[in-house]
Symmetry: C2
Subunit: 468 residues, 2 copies
């Protein structure tokens, strides 16, 4: 599925192409390289991250090539003719290893590993980071909201506040993270979902009075009528008018599906609305609330006993406000067969060298206990060591071990069957069941253990010594 009218060859940072030309000039461009994609911190001060975006990235990788107009642009900004001739036939020929979409991932362990001639691995960096960082951020936010909502419906209302065309993948990621519905029609069509939505204030305002607005809407949409009841006065006008309409609908053999609150004190108003509806005999009418929702506000509303059947969520879902970005990076781990390291001025930015895998260990209750970054082929059986996280040495003997990075791309094509987003959602829900609750709480979640293997520890220490 190609979303943009242009191929994605120019969907990159300029320095990727500058370096590519440099590799090409010195005939180093076909030397094998390994890059790791990883992030340094769970978003939202949380205890886990839900991986999304792999399939969107691979879709865009399929159209990663350079068209004539791309080449013209690059020529105009000074790239060399021989390099541009090379780019004309460029296709990514490398292999990609990755966690599955919907799986849980943790800081400082590779989520994706790219193996390719260095030029190729280099120039897909920006595309990979752009898509994976974003979808993973949003899917993680959605998963947190799902935890807070405790089984209530979650509807993505975010398109108007999404970051431009970012709306398209935001909705995909929101559903992967656990949202039940979306208002975003284009994404629904693109990703095999069904969009939903009823009325805005403008519908109500376009009538001389609220009752008439509700009544005509109910006549037009008797099967899925949700009335927005806060245009003038929720309890004195919106609720009484919706009760009147609900009664008329029953007389015609229909049922009012719900009402929506979009302003005011939602704890107070939802309880009062519920009581008025119930007293009038409409306990089947659902109450949906919206207005600056996030997981913390949802949890607070529920804790206050608010009567809420569903949440409409916008800004804080689709933009991941206030974090707004996952800090994922893409770092060289091996070049021409030799492991590579970056030291940097911040010890936090130290990288892990070599061709690595990630193994997840499960305790006796079949809950995820620790992730271990190991050299490919190595399977730690006894002990893991602090990587860049602040854990102590940990025993992992006798634990069930699950290797995580699978080859997903080779010779220009996917190696797995595409799943639809609802399937990925179910996969993620199942993975979250196997994560202990203490990593899922919002306040000071327990830090999930990510360690490194004995062989990796040894390799890293050797390389640090060499550069010191």
């Amino acid at each position: 599925m190609q979303l943009l009218t242009r191929g994605t060859g120019l969907y990159t940072d300029h320095y990727e192409l500058t370096m590519a030309q440099g590799y090409f000039k010195f005939q180093r461009h076909e030397k094998p390289a390994i890059f790791d994609y990883f992030f340094r911190k769970n978003p939202f001060k949380g205890g886990f991250t839900l991986f999304a975006g792999l399939d969107s990235f691979l879709d865009m990788l399929e159209s990663f090539h350079f068209e004539n107009k791309d080449i013209n642009y690059l020529k105009n900004v000074g790239f060399a003719d021989d390099f541009l001739d090379y780019l004309k036939n460029f296709r990514f020929s490398g292999s990609i290893y990755s966690f599955s979409e919907g799986d849980l991932v943790f800081p400082k362990a590779p989520v994706v590993r790219v193996e390719a001639p260095i030029l190729e691995a280099q120039i897909i960096e920006t595309l990979l980071l752009n898509i994976l960082n974003f979808e993973t951020l949003i899917a993680t936010r959605a998963a947190r909201m799902k935890i807070a909502a405790g089984g209530r419906n979650l509807i993505d209302f975010g398109m108007r506040r999404a970051q431009g065309l970012g709306a398209i993948h935001a909705t995909r990621a929101a559903v992967i993270g656990g949202f039940t519905a979306t208002s975003n029609v284009l994404s629904a069509d693109l990703f095999g979902l069904t969009s939903t939505g009823t009325m805005a204030h403008s519908w109500v305002q376009s009538y001389e009075d609220e009752y008439q607005a509700f009544s005509e809407f109910a006549a037009a949409f008797p099967e899925n009528c949700i009335l927005l009841i806060d245009t003038y006065n929720t309890l004195n006008s919106g609720v009484p008018n919706s009760i009147k309409v609900a009664r008329e609908m029953e007389q015609r053999g229909h049922k009012l599906m719900g009402v929506r609150l979009d302003s005011g004190d939602l704890a107070y108003l939802s309880k009062k609305t519920r009581k008025q509806l119930d007293d009038a005999g409409f306990n089947y009418v659902k109450i949906i609330v919206s207005n600056q929702m996030d997981e913390h506000i949802m949890a607070s509303l529920i804790q206050q006993g608010a009567s809420i059947d569903g949440f409409g969520v916008g800004t804080r879902l689709v933009t991941g406000k206030p974090d707004a970005a996952l800090d994922g990076v893409y770092k060289l781990a091996s070049f021409d067969g030799t492991p590579r390291l970056k030291l940097s001025e911040n010890s936090d930015k130290l990288t892990l060298p070599g061709r690595k895998s990630v193994i997840r260990y499960f305790n006796k209750e079949n809950k995820a206990y620790a992730d271990v970054v190991a050299l490919e082929g190595e399977m730690p059986q006894e002990m893991i060591y602090p990587g860049q996280t602040e854990i102590k040495n940990q025993k992992i003997s006798c634990m069930k071990a699950e290797p995580k990075l699978e080859k997903v791309w080779e010779n220009g094509r996917r190696l797995f069957k595409k799943r639809n987003v609802k399937e990925i959602q179910e996969y993620g829900t199942e993975k979250l069941l196997h994560l202990p609750n203490e990593h899922k709480r919002f306040e000071n979640p327990h830090v999930y253990k990510v360690g490194i293997s004995p062989e990796l520890l040894k390799l890293r220490n050797e390389l640090i010594e060499k550069h010191m």
Copy 2:
């Protein structure tokens, strides 16, 4: 310019189409409506907002139609056949009035006014909000960074952290707000800019030693060589190696353009780097810094006397973190010739009724003094009144008045000559010169006055009374 492989008809919230079908069913869809686009709060706790995105929105409006596959999707999710027949020939036939891109805009005064048959005005809402909210957010952030940077270069490095395809318009808006360069190659090509960029850590890591990495890069790019000097140790390795390379470049008649710092204490490291470079005779070598920049960190670095010639900015520019969204809304102001109001449970969400213009008043120093929302055709001469902002009545007698909303779209086409983004940037820079400094400071900026006219005050009070 069409960016998406699909027309933008489905680039909308589902409820816009539900309401549209409702308007259509009751034959109200051709009744004239007026909607206002406005926002309620300056982003980033700031004192101004820089408007951007108009041209991007109009570009997408040009491809707002429903293709066969769009109609098929809508049929599958239950829209009525007669309505879908109507949509097949849909084109937006209304008129749009707007501030110019690059102008300053303030809370609660209309930025854009849409006049069209209600169905048409309704279903473009999401597209308008999505694009204008986002580009305005980012242009405003960029303008704030430009103020902080005090004439130093500002380079957009944000693509990898941008919200997916949001990267495309983020770069456009960043340049409108004052950025001098971008790493985003696709946006540079799309918007007539020149992208720039040199090396990442991976280039350095791909060599056995840092000096060799620098030396080969300088040989490949003698004209615009900027070396990244923090891969191993900035002051003990990165700077000495770049001095060595700078010396060799001079011997070949070239000049090292700059070095980049991407980690550590940038105030300390930039001063030390400057001194080492100067002591070696390379006072022409520029120092660029990057790593989690925003306007506050820039201002702090400069205040500490850091030696910085340019800033590379990523996440906080292109995502507008932590705000991440402008709270712009699109509200019905008139239907079928009658002014409309929304009261809501939050007094803050009260709307302004009727067909309105915005007039900016300038004081004797030719600085912007206040914006007034007035009924179209009304030109207040004496006094303005509190709208929804907490100002007192204000005298505006004898002030220069500048009407702001101009018709930009009619009969399916733009009414103005497209400007390139650099022209819009210059326009914005000029507008900021005419804003008093107290609105531009970051800490507790003085609130710019936005009032309403006598006639609008009267109309609003009449309508409130009617609904109470």
